[in-house]
Amino acid sequence: MIGPTGKNPNDDFFTDLGKTPKANKPNQDHHGSSQPNAINAGKWLDEAKSFLQLDSRKAKVDFVLSLINSGSST
């Protein structure tokens, strides 16, 4: 979907993702290593729901790829 500014508003979401404040508690992966850059899951989802429209197959793929690209860990 193209927004009033002539660009895809979903792009802003992905651009801004990295600027989201960090969670209060550090997350840990299965190996016990700290994930200080990981953000709060609820907040991240709320922001995705606010800023990101899943109105096309591409938007859905981009959203899923954002999780692959980010280096999310377990």
């Binding site: 997350n27 994930q35 899951a41 990101l52 793929v61 959203f63 999780l67 692959i68 999310s72």
Partner: protein, 361 residues
Amino acid sequence: MTTPTIEDLSEEINSRYEQSFPSQQENRTNPNTEIYSSVQRKFHGKITENPNFGISYSSPKESFKTERRVAVLIGDNHMNKDLAVDQYQLLKGLYTDEDLFLSSSFNEGKTSAESAYPTIPEGLSEAQIINDIRTERMAQETAVLYTLRSKVESASIPYLAYNPESLSQAEDLDIMLGKLISISTGIAATVPDAEHKVFKGLSFEVHKLNLMKLAYEHGSLEHEFYALLGSRIKDMTSKLGYDEALQRRIAEATIETVETFSDANRDQDPTSWQNKYHQAPRMLDNAQTEKLYEQIFNNTQELTLKTRNQRMADMFAQTEPGTRTMIVGANHYSKKVDGKSLIDRLEEKGIPVIVIEGTKL
């Protein structure tokens, strides 16, 4: 780019799903529950009269006779559509039989009927319902719930509530995901079932995933669905040791498969997804393929035949006394993992089991 950890995300999505679809389990006391010896006698009488089904097992131990918690497992093979329709008719008959006093049932995990139920259009005819069962657009238990809950007055109806089992959303998706990836990466179509039995029931998994997707959409949880899908793909493909470029290609192809199937299901056009299934370009080399097979096998063993069986047995044990049915894949009760099948796990909790199976080949 920063995202939550996969585990945090999975946990958050599970919690949101449960809030949107709280268990309808009423767990009320059924005043008419009967002891196992009486249930056993009645079921033997009723199933003997039904040419489509037979009882292949009933717990023999003397000490079970006075138990009031009874598990009636109805064997499914996920491939035989006639059997699925027969099971629907069987369950309808059992739940409207005023002599049986059944309590609310359980669901093996094909996206809980309670969450799929509201996504079904109102006013479907019996013929449409049967067609939906044949095409796997509706699970048998969901169809019984849809048909009976609002329409039939009967002693058993207040207890007709198909309760979801206690697998998390991530676990449920992980079971389906390996097989789904095998489709999207072009492997499934190239491997004969005879060689890799893990792929049997592949379409069942894809239908199940679609029911899950419909439920998420119904609950305004579309972002959560795709986030869960993405994070579980990431988790699985990372553990398989696939590099990030391959992870991305798999994620993209898998979403494409899900969407193609979803559209085909909506339009009742099975050919478009079958074309997808047969024409997907193969993107894994032999070593990567073997790793995926191994992962699918491990998930089947660990999640399906161990964790799921254990939790099914826990649920039967934790609910109020009563006779409960569950349509369940035959592997659950015929295969043993760590020396135990679902029957063993139920019986060790003091719950007698009756197994009903279809008689047609």
